[in-house]
């Protein structure tokens, strides 16, 4: 039983990271009907930027409280990755907005390769290792399950960001505008919504969340490589499909389910089966329920 709860907590931790990355895929798909294949690289970029701030610049030395230092760095990482996200949209996607569906996808694959190589050229091809103790190694024992401060931080950060995003999307006028753009660009324009501006906003929010997720993975596993975005990207993409691509709560739920399934599989079957389980889920969903768990069901009347 303790192992079970341990694995559940493991699963929720990694699942919440998948969810954050999945939100970037699903929001871009929502407003543009395209998969931003370069999103995984923005995640990697977040991890490397955090590495530079923590190791090369030793920013934590200027801020006495470790948790405050982490929050400040997360905000900076989010901002920087968001800038790259906006540039990516402006350079690689916007010029192709009217060119059908295939061209932007190919452009996204190109952008992904470009960013991955740029990261390799800037930071080198070797793995980077975060030092120990960036996040103080505090552990609590609750009912035989040990919970580290790292996990608490990952969970609380992810949860806070997801709730904030949910409130933004569901409860504010700009969120309603984002949902309107996801349904119909032309009609959104008739309402006075600047669709280009909304798309830019999506390319701020998604990459910012992905960048923070990258930073958390760096701190959690302490080792990062320039290809990590592919691995996490495809997992998060699976999570987005699982929840129903284009559906924001779906990405959150999909990420958590995927993380827990993977983690239980790793615990009870074998760690080697972790990825196989994730992709088995992807294949099953695509066959049995291509619209995902929370995919759109409301038909439009004509």
């Amino acid at each position: 039983m303790e192992m079970f709860f341990g694995q559940i907590i493991n699963g929720i931790t990694i699942g919440s990271i998948y969810a954050l990355v999945a939100l970037g895929y699903t929001m871009v798909y929502g407003v543009l009907r395209m998969i931003n294949f370069a999103h995984g690289e923005l995640f990697t970029l977040g991890a490397y930027m955090a590495f530079t701030m923590i190791v090369s610049m030793n920013l934590a030395a200027y801020i006495p409280n470790a948790v405050v230092a982490l929050i400040v760095m997360a905000v900076m990482v989010a901002g920087l990755v968001a800038i790259v996200g906006v540039l990516l949209e402006r350079i690689a996607y916007k010029p192709l907005r009217q060119s059908g569906r295939l061209a932007p996808v190919i452009s996204a694959l190109g952008a992904s390769i470009f960013l991955q190589n740029a990261i390799m050229l800037i930071w080198g091809a070797n793995y980077k290792v975060f030092p120990e103790g960036v996040v103080p190694s505090i552990t609590w024992e609750i009912g035989g399950v040990s919970i580290t401060l790292m996990r608490v931080l990952i969970l609380s950060t992810s949860l806070t960001l997801m709730i904030a995003l949910y409130v933004l999307i569901q409860r504010t006028q700009v969120g309603t505008a984002i949902r309107a753009c996801a349904l119909d660009h032309d009609t959104a324009r008739l309402m006075g919504i600047d669709v280009d501006k909304i798309i830019r906003l999506v390319f701020i929010i998604g990459p910012a969340l992905g960048g923070i997720a990258g930073m958390m993975v760096g701190l959690y596993y302490r080792q990062i490589g320039f290809t990590m975005g592919w691995h996490y990207g495809i997992k998060a993409f699976t999570a987005a499909i699982l929840g129903g691509i284009g559906n924001i709560p779906g990405a959150m739920v999909g990420g958590l389910i995927l993380g827990v399934a993977e983690s239980l599989g790793a615990g009870y079957i074998s760690n080697a089966w972790k990825d196989a389980i994730a992709f088995l889920i992807l294949i099953l969903i695509l066959i049995l329920r291509p619209t995902g768990l929370l995919g759109e069901r409301v038909a439009e009347k004509v």
């Binding site: 949902r179 349904l183 324009r189 008739l190 006075g192 409301v298 439009e300 009347k301």
Partner: protein
Amino acid sequence: MAFLRLENLEIFYGSVQALKGISLTVNEGEVVALLGANGAGKTTTLRAISGLVGIERGEIHFDGELLNSVPAHEIVGRGIAHAPEGRKIFSTLTVEENLNLGGYSRGKDKEGLARTKKYVFELFPRLSERKHQLAGTLSGGEQQMLAISRALMAKPRMLLLDEPSLGLAPLLVQNIFATIKEINEEGMTILLVEQNAKVALKTAHRGYVLETGKIVLEGTAQDLIADERVRKAYLGEK
């Protein structure tokens, strides 16, 4: 001076010319009907006014300003609201969220928006009962009410209505047109696109008949109703 004026408007979809030089005017306070068969260019004309299609040649003037290069999302702020063909309500948003988006261009004018919302709920009490429902679950007639109300939420000076009768039962069509008349009598200028010429000409002051991208006939509503060509082609008389 005309409130809305189109001058020799030409629109292309790729190499196909949809509008071949259209000129028309709408005066303040008028209801003008744009009639014609499928593919005549009626919807294209409205989409051009709203900035949703590029203009090849010609000019669009509204209230003395040239609209040609105004981006689509700024048109509603200039005072022209458009209830598009097929209603195009945001189906997975609630009725109220649809209305709020209709008032998007008015920014944070909360009091004004609340007043307009109250006004459209008086116009269409059904929407008030269903304001928390997803718009996609409304009946066709209710969706049309929502499309018109959403346009009114912008507090426009002019309304573009594209086929408000589309797919509705005759009784419902009469209701909708009675409301359109009511809105006009309160001072709203309306450019109305319709295939149902009979009901449109009953409401409109003047009309234009489009055929394959050209205006072939224009006149007052009475003249058009009396015109033999209109009677034959659009009113189903032999």
